[in-house]
Symmetry: C2
Subunit: 512 residues, 2 copies
């Protein structure tokens, strides 16, 4: 063959580059202690040697259970060096759930932070075969000398999604998926070697984990908070002069509500990213006033490495009046670099950009996963002709800003009318006595489904469901108003913190 | 198959993105007239319709002969829209040379700026088959509605290298090659929608042409100078508030020498890129003093889309004393993002980083060409196991900064000693009476080769070759000193402006 096959970069190339270009620059900082890229590279190769000695070579799975921190960087790149497939574990899951993931992906070994040793041992005991554990500070005496021959289309990361439906699935992301996302994110967000990334959302989740590779690629500095706590996060941001981080809206709301939030010196911050849930324009305003920098809403999924849209403003939008800018920044956003995105109506054709017609978001990109681990049937169900169906329903405006209105499976059909639960939730969330709300459908003999709302009152308030019903009737068409209200002390959530609507519909269902 | 095949972006996706995100933002500016991205997109689709009507569909070659300007953008993206392969023509070549390129790649048609109609007609008349011509401002009435189904591994651009050796070759760059380079360059150089790129070096050459895609990708503004002239370039930079451009050192030297260069308002400039020849630290200083911004030396080749190294400084180098910074910025540089680079000695192993040992630069990257057009033999001669041998000899220092010392084929072996012509040229260029110099080897019965220098005197000076010989003896080891001097009025150059050493060695040789 005379035609050259492209040899694209792999995950470990991000670290090799930082080590080659700036070995003495800080890779990780923690309360006065700085680790350089040369030191990180050395630690990675010692960890890799240990993995090699335990047989975690090309294609073998290595599970990782660790809080946010330096160790997470080390093992991410150590696995990549060996050509092993990293399986990040959500340590909030229970032992039987983790045991189920072990059965799914059969890791060669698990690297475990001391605090999670008992959890992982218990999980291993419940799995079909026991998993060898390595405590995360273990290192070989000699660094590995030779990186594995890894191709860009080999699997780098295997994320086990809990999601909110059915059995667990393993999302296979290739080295190219991960590297392409890092490149595109660096361009979109203008990441560079002056950036300091705050790992505050869990690193076992892609919303933060993508930055492990991207920030290394550009030679920026990593800082981390082991577990989220609002005050500690603000301390970290202030002390380490963090410039960019991706948080979930709940974290932002808690930080903004801290009494001294606005007197903190967050002047280094240039970009607050957030996603995983919709956000109100008023919250965007509060965030920008606290952080005094740009807010960007993100939308993505594990299957797409993860970003699919960002609410970044272009030159035209930056010139709009302030209120309009806050409104646009609160929207789901426009396609992430390298992502082809369509909002397809029931006829399979793109819906008009009238911000009213609703369709499903489908995407195509080099960041779309290789597939679900050993489940070609599941892969084929969501990816056709290279287009991945997200299962998210959205409308799109004339500027191309998408706004998600519901998960396809959460949408309620009542008397032939579509009700998007997000719209009803937003109306209820505006009530001063409501802390949290989740709207879902219940089967109904006449209407097919009927609208039901689970509401959590604010501390010290009592919810009057008649008043809530009246509140809804003022704001929503009659068929959208809940026929039933359930007042709860808290909403049921999945292991990754998403509201488990499935459990609301069917309290007996298993939620992983 | 359940595994998803990556569908990466193609050239036209850069334009689709700019049109989707910022249709009303300027794509091109020229003396007060602004063309928006929406208008460019419309023009591209009209041009594409015309190409389609002439049968220039998937895989067909479309030659383009045009000066720098808006038309160049239009036809670049129009060809990509149709899936046609763009063949940029160097209009400095003579008709028989262009005829030879037509025979090589047999284009379906040629898009020609009016000024080059006679040249291309004459070339076509000499080619084996006549090429249909389209004058570049022609447009169809209706825009093309449907872009061709193009895969990222399809060929996007076919550059016919004249080089300085032998027969012409067609370098096939795929959509992925081009898009990957655009992404990596955007990250390396921090390109964004506030950038204004000055197309001043010829757009038919990749040193500038890569920015056609990259600047569109980030939604920046293109401005162009039809043909280089120092004063006009400074006018353009000042009037359009250009922020970044890639120039050749000769252009920079001419601009810096303009009497009013230092009083121009070039304050918008943030990055001056240059390559194609080595540059003296003193010139780097003069450039930075005139442009008052960062200078970055670039090294690349058409076969690699093109960048292979940049002399960008990392955080550690930015803290060095000024003189050291200028010295590093004048070096060839460190690997471009996504490029694996080794300097391999005669034994095939990387040379030590002692800045003395010399080896050949070999590279591997997703930006390495698909191959030479219909010449698997030539492709196999330079690419092995995905590694491309550049034919450039270099040394590498402890910081990883490469410095090219010679083309492999220009290196002189005299009496068993290697003489790198660049070193001898640098010594001679330091003489106050020397304007230009080229050093080359001539066959010698005893020594194998002997060192010879062709020198051009500065205006009004007379060169004393005995004084030159003494000048060399003060600066160079005896075996490196030229045994023969030839005083010329000008150095012979190839079509792309490189010095034709082949013609110096053998005045009867053909130079394309």
């Amino acid at each position: 063959m005379s035609i050259v096959t492209s040899k694209g970069p792999t995950v470990v190339d991000a670290l090799l580059r930082a080590n080659a270009l700036q070995p003495l620059a800080p890779a990780f900082r923690d309360a006065g202690r700085t680790t350089t890229y040369a030191e990180l590279f050395e630690d990675v190769r010692r960890a890799a040697r240990l993995l090699e000695e335990r047989g975690a070579v090309c294609g073998e799975r290595v599970a990782l259970a660790a809080e946010n921190g330096y160790q997470y960087l080390v093992w991410t790149f150590a696995a990549a060096w060996c050509g092993a497939v990293l399986v990040p574990l959500n340590w909030r899951l229970a032992a039987p759930e983790i045991g189920g993931l072990f059965d799914l992906v059969s890791p060669r070994l698990a690297v475990v932070q001391w605090e999670f040793a008992a959890l992982v041992e218990a999980a291993s005991a419940r799995a079909r075969q026991r998993i060898a554990c390595v405590v995360d500070h273990a290192r070989a005496a000699l660094p590995s000398e030779r990186r594995a021959a890894v191709h860009e289309d080999d699997t780098a990361h295997l994320y086990c999604t809990s999601g909110t439906t059915g059995e667990p699935k393993g999302v296979e992301l290739t080295h190219r998926n991960v590297f392409q996302h890092a490149l595109c994110a660096a361009v979109e967000l203008g990441l560079g070697d002056r950036d300091v990334w705050g790992h505050v959302a869990p690193m076992f989740h892609l919303a933060d984990a993508w930055a492990t590779v991207a920030i290394t690629l550009v030679g920026g500095v990593h800082v981390a908070l082991p577990r989220f706590e609002a005050r500690a996060a603000l301390d970290l941001f202030e002390r380490e002069r963090v410039t960019v981080s991706n948080l979930v809206p709940t974290m932002l709301a808690l930080m903004v509500a801290e009494p001294d939030a606005r007197t903190r010196d967050l002047s280094a911050f240039r970009l607050v990213l957030s996603g995983g849930a919709s956000i109100a324009p008023s919250t965007v305003r509060a965030v920008e006033e606290t952080f005094r920098c740009e807010y960007v809403q993100t939308y993505g999924m594990t299957e797409t490495s993860p970003y699919l849209t960002l609410s970044r403003l272009g030159p035209t939008e930056r010139a709009l009046p302030e209120e309009e800018r806050f409104r646009l920044r609160a929207r789901t956003g426009r396609p992430f670099l390298g992502v082809e995105l369509e909002v397809r109506g029931p006829d399979g054709r793109p819906v008009p950009r009238d911000d009213r017609s609703v369709g499903e978001i489908v995407v195509r990109a080099a960041t779309v996963m290789r597939g679900y681990w050993q489940r070609p049937d599941l892969t084929a169900a969501v990816v056709q002709d290279g287009w991945l169906a997200t299962g998210d329903l959205a409308r799109i405006d004339a500027r191309g800003f998408v706004e998600i209105v519901d998960r396809k499976k959460d949408m309620i059909v009542t008397g032939g009318e579509n009700v998007y639960t997000t719209e009803v939730e937003h109306a209820l969330a505006a009530h001063p006595d409501v802390l949290e709300v989740a709207v879902f459908g219940l089967p109904h003999a006449v209407w097919g489904e009927t609208v039901c709302a689970a509401v959590v009152p604010r501390a010290g308030r009592v919810l009057d469901t008649q008043a809530l019903a009246a509140h809804c009737r003022e704001r929503l068409a009659g068929y959208k108003c809940p026929r039933e209200f359930r007042v709860l002390a808290a909403l049921p959530r999945t292991g990754t913190g998403k509201i488990a609507k499935r459990l609301l519909r069917d309290p007996g269902a298993a939620v992983e």
